[in-house]
Amino acid sequence: MDLETLLQVLDSTIRLATPLLLACLAGLFSERAGIFDIGLEGKMLAAAFFSGAVAYTTGTVWLGLLAGIAASLTLSGIHGLASITFRGNQLISGVAINFLASGMTVVIAEDWFRQGGRTPSLVGDARFKPIELPLSGIDIPLIGPIYTDLISGHTILVYLALLLVPASWWLLYRTRFGLRLRAVGENPAAVDTAGINVTGLRFAAVGICGVLCGIAGAYLATALQAGFVKEMSAGRGFIALAALIFAKWRPWHALVACLLFGLLQALSLRPDVVTAMTSFDVPVQLLDALPYILTVVILAGFVGKAIPPRAGGEPYVKEQ
């Protein structure tokens, strides 16, 4: 495989890993605070639709992004209300959000745009454009092409997602907020008796989760592709959950896990590369299925013992 092909595959790995990474970090904040969120998928989907719709209508991608975040935050609010305030079952609430988003997006899209449940294609300023970093095109062997083709030339959301990894780590492990957030996912009673508001802390975490899912969804519709199509999140929310378990709820590991899934998705787009590398005629269907197979393997617990936050999934009830 030549350098150009390799760079192409890696470049698409980064692009495909970005929504996974954003959703994975979203889940990380929520689950670290003790709120399981299988509704990542639904939030991404709703955000993808509303960002696409608003970007198309206004012609401004930034308004689209805001709309996506708002949609995702609304669903987060519902999840928070159900699972924190009313102490409902977090899995059921998450499933409900997935169904809601799946049905709602198509129905509204059909009503607004009459294009069979999709938004019209986004053009011009309604879409995030690649950013050419300074010095790209520089003529140094090896480093030049890597810088120009791999590092430069992504949309702002890709760089944002990558920056969010150290930022999340710093927030979780170096700040007061992070200490409390991790504590509330492990033992909310300890947080409560320390005089901290458990409910407020958990809503903050769910809110962060909503914002990140919103960005992830907006990325799908306005950066990775040009417009919303039905079910375009395509299980990425669940893959992100698998990556989160694989990463054992740690930000840097989440980056590695998401890049792995991104690579598998990138390879499924380039069956020719796989065939050349393995000298096998690998069926495209198998390549397409690989990320999902890995998800199942991870969720089945074949990657070693992953201990979730101890209070995860449990509504906090003050004992007497």
Binding site: R176, L179, R182, E186, A189, T193, A194, G195, I196
Partner: protein
Amino acid sequence: MTAVENQGQPSSAAPAIELKGISKAFGPVQANKDISIRVMPGTVHGIIGENGAGKSTLMSILFGFYKADAGEIFINGNLTQIPDSQAAISAGIGMVFQHFKLVQNFTVLENVILGTEDGAMLRTSLSKARTELERLSEEYELHVDPDELIEELSVGHQQRVEILKALYRKAEILILDEPTGVLTPAEADHLFRILDNLRAEGKTIILITHKLREIMHITDTVSVMRRGEMTATVKTAETSPEELAELMVGRKVLLRVDKAPAKPGKPILEVSNLQVTDEDGVKRLKGIDLHVRAGEILGIAGVSGNGQSALLHVLGGVTQATGEVKINGTPLPLTGPKANGRTRREAGISHVPEDRHREGLILEFSAWENMAFGYHHDPAYQSGLLMNNKAIREDTVKKMELFDVRPPIPTISAKSFSGGNQQKLVLAREIERDPDLLLVGQPTRGVDIGAIEFIHQQLIELRDSGKAILLVSVELDEIMSLSDRIAVMFDGKIMGERLPSETNETELGLLMAGMSGEAA
């Protein structure tokens, strides 16, 4: 009955805590009725009472968990509102809960600063806390490694972290809820030394416990609660355990167990080289050898979690094991489908499990349904293909009356009975089957003093009728007073066997902590 105020301290200083007329109801249940109490600064004040007497409710009100329906709280003479824990902490109150409120995968340092960090960044808080922690551990003998994870610490050390947390928050008043329940005797002694140091520094300590011995040992003043009311407050030096027990229960209680010397007969249970490995691959039993003879009680002492549960589970047919167990000379199956509770019962073993809520009863089910569990194959309970519910109910009433279960109504659900009556239900079910061997775990855990007396008498009667009893308890007092022989378990092994008349708590405590018998 009206509350008796503490007149004991003729001091000009204001009380550290004064509660006036505190009342709190949960629905129809009046948990606290017009409670008034004064706790003087620099003293250890004990609060004693049976389960459900309202001690924990009272302390939860003081720590801002509940809001009292009526009444006032004065801290150092000032009327203070305590709407939440934050307010309690600011008022200088620290609480060490019975179940620690620690984050298991955080370090000691992180747990200490949680909720009282200086500023949004952790770095400065952590270094400040480290210095402060060093000072506090020196001052009060509260040594713990600040960088150790909580899950790596022993229970005794975790408790020290809880105390450090309170002191780091500048607590002047420390409330400890049943602090010795999970400690070895040596750890408990260390705790009392710490409390002595704290008192000497002028801190005020409230000690909630049901152990009379601790009250007599450490407190200056003691208040007794019964059914939500404060029935008396007395100076510890002027009272006796017998008087306190009577105040708690409302009638005279026999604290000592009266029993004749055992007349042991032939061996009923013989265990050799018993080994158990659990699902996580941890060896729970590492080769147990013991025997129990007819007409004797073998007490298994030990800190909880050292294999006693595994031993009961194997003998009761709950888990599988390797080794050899004989009952009346016949080997029992330890693996395979035959190793179950039913074959054990048929072999003459009855089992009163350690955790009556999880293993002894189904709380949602009625008393009579619970009475049939494990014995539902009994022909007397059958009528053709169906269960003879009427027969079971009649049998239940009979057994409830024999064991003084109150109220003796078979149709109410198990969860509606008090802890003591639930335990008596389980004992009635198992003892009335006339077993050759009774396995009994924690017979009086969460049981009030009156019922403890009754349960102990039943066990002694069973022994005197020539049955073998294997008793597992974390209460050393109980082991000492009931057992004819005592075996101490530590880390899945028997550390040694002693006669109650020839040993003492210190020696047993050392064995329980894993020191060999020679060192003791």
